[in-house]
Amino acid sequence: MNRSICIILFCAALPLVGCESGRAPSFQLSEQSQELSGFAKEKVQGELEAGFGTPSNLVVWSELDVDFGQYSGTVKKVGPRPGTLKIEGEGLAVASSLAGVRSLNDLKGAAVVVSSPSSVTESNDESSGEDGADASDARTSELADTSSGEGESESYRVASYDPASRLLSVVNENGVPAQLSVAKGDNVQILGPALQEGRNLYLRHCMHCHGVSGDGAGPTAQYFKVKPRDYRQGVVKFTSTKANVPRPSRDDLFRIVKLGVPGTYMPSFMLLPDEEVHAIVEYVRWLAMRGEMERKLNAWLSLDYSKEAVADMEEPAEEIESAFAEAWADEASDNITQFSEELQMDWQEADKEENVVVPPTERVPPSPESIERGRKLFQGNKAKCASCHGLTGKGNGPSTESFNDLPGQPGVKSDKAGLFDIWGNIVKPRNLTAGVFRGGRRPIDIYRRIHSGIKGTPMQAFGSTLNKEGEIWDVVNYVLSIPFENKQGGH
């Protein structure tokens, strides 16, 4: 029976083998990328990994307008085991409000740069993209060669960090404990901890709806009537930025996370500490940038190198591939630099104060006269609100049943009736009688919706149409009064 006991227990223990599976989340290529032919897809994948990394090993690409965060300290002692360092310095205490949650990777995978004290630490910022430096260098943690040349630095990745003993374990790019040639007093910088914090929070709070890659297609998302946002176009509906500034500002994203989006499944994270929300916002922006980079690469390559295009070509496969390799070697670096500059510019624009929509005049008081004017504008021909929102604001206007232009593609009609957004979902114009305003119910919020439209949807910007003084405010007053029409005053 002894043997039987052993066999039984062994069989039972087998499923537990799966425990340390070492699986990790991984970014998914978009549907567009999947349409590229194999060799092009590989390159896209490689570029994205080089520039952004994987969820467990984030790459700090200092070009991008993202607050990656940085911790600094100095080496106190090398050892005890190979690849370990004892650090001192204030910045390295990992302040995590996830103190109780050990399941996520604290600092693991963050890039570590160790440099001798003579090198200028600010050179990290200057080195990126300057004096013809290869864009790829600026993206990795190897900032040594592009610095001013004084002093040397070495870069590794964090394997683990114990705040109590301040022991840092580092591995090289292959995951092997690094052979450290550092001395006491050398500078240590850990790059990207803020982004990592954001990633940890995102995986915990956001991923199951918004997806690992920010594609709005997490496991839970398919069951929603109103789909979670797909960040990869860099467009968010409810912004405070002008109509011609497509990106949201950090404040916009902060508001959305804090207040939620009523009328959807995006809950309010009001009670998350502000630092955590800021970290999440940075990570979301970074995900959006990754998505946009993928789109730009696809836009460049898909014309000639999508599966369809390649199938149409007459040349044999090897020729096409070598032609591609040549073209890539020629143009990739410049193009990618250009793309990253575009990304940086776009997102920086959104945060500029001058791009926030501020009404020229104070709100017109919501008197019955103003509301009446607003109603006339709503139902009139100038702004044609009723064509989508309906004469009574119920969201049942005639456009909901006609074949309309696709958003962002004027002149191109959709082959299905109704109104669509740029993510391909059918959208219903807001039922204003319900009093639920997804982007916020403050007068300024409604003003901004009317003035700059709701980006990505058929709700256009009416700032130039309703350009007489006070017109937009009249409409705002009317809209805010719709839920209370035909109701007796309660006082």
Binding site: H205, R255, Y265, P267, P273, D274, V356, R442, P483, F484
Partner: protein, 276 residues
């Protein structure tokens, strides 16, 4: 002596159980703090009363069990005690527990009535907000400062989410509703719980004894985000409460021009302190 292992084994674990209850408050495996409401204090009192009764019963029955097992193992007689029972004992251990149980059940009927029966709510309990639970947050509607809460939304009502401010030191009530499925309004530190039933409006009253921040969680399965419904009740003095409503009103009427924009980063100013 090998036989004695099992009686000892069966007595070991009840001792462990009692030890764990004794050390639990010190290890913070206990209530999330003392009850922060007068009703909660009474609930805690009843809990401790029952705990004592249960502990005595637990110890008593297990001592008896241990004893009979111990002696039973030692029993070297050819036969066991041939008894079919004892009528007197049956009466004794029917009446005594019955009495204790009836006592416990009647002891705090008044507390229950005070909590749930509208006519027994404390004098002067005023509705301070309407709390609508939805998947997966708490949407709160206050009346404008100085006004009474109406049953239907008014154009000057104030709205916020997940953050319920109330004055402390006096009983206040909320109108609890649900927009979609069943939820439950659970304030662990105040010992308050009430299901939010769709289609119904349930008045829930409570009194925060001290100012402070109290957790609000959902206690009825409402879908995948059941655990996400984290809210808080912020109890402050009357003037702080009034001020909060006024800042909420200012924020809600903000038109982008009249005051400096309180950007997203400064939502914290509106009485929503960082819960750090």
């Amino acid at each position: 002596m090998v036989n004695k292992f099992w009686p000892i084994f069966f007595m070991f674990w009840p001792i462990l159980a009692i030890v764990s209850f004794v050390i639990a408050p010190g290890m913070d495996w206990w209530f999330p703090g003392p009850a922060m409401s007068p009703l909660g204090e009474q609930i805690d009192n009843l809990f401790y009363l029952i705990l004592v009764i249960v502990a005595v019963t637990f110890v008593g029955t297990h001592v008896a069990l241990g004893y009979v097992l111990w002696r039973g193992v030692d029993n070297k007689d050819q036969k066991a005690w041939f008894s079919h029972g004892s009528h007197n004992l049956e009466i004794l251990w029917s009446i005594a527990p019955a009495g204790i149980l009836m006592f416990i059940s009647l002891y705090q009927l008044d507390v229950w009535m005070e909590f749930r029966v509208k006519t027994h709510f404390p004098e002067g309990t005023t509705p301070v907000a309407e709390v609508t639970a939805r998947q997966f947050e708490w949407r709160i509607r206050y009346p404008a400062p100085g006004k009474k809460l109406m049953t239907t939304p008014q154009s000057d009502d104030l709205y916020t989410v997940n953050d319920l401010h109330v004055p402390f030191g006096r009983p206040v009530s909320i109108r609890l509703r649900s927009m979609d499925v069943q939820h439950a309004f659970f304030l662990p530190e105040l010992r308050v719980k009430q299901d939010a039933v769709p289609g119904a409006v349930i008045p829930v009253w409570f009194e925060a004894s001290k100012p402070g921040e109290y957790d609000l969680t959902c206690a009825e399965l409402c879908g995948w985000g059941h655990y996400k419904m984290r809210g808080r009740v912020f109890a402050e003095n009357e003037s702080g409460f009034e001020q909060y409503l006024e800042t909420l009103q200012a924020e809600q009427n903000f038109d982008g021009v009249t005051q400096p924009e309180h950007t997203g980063a400064q939502i914290a100013e509106y009485g929503i302190e960082d819960s750090q």
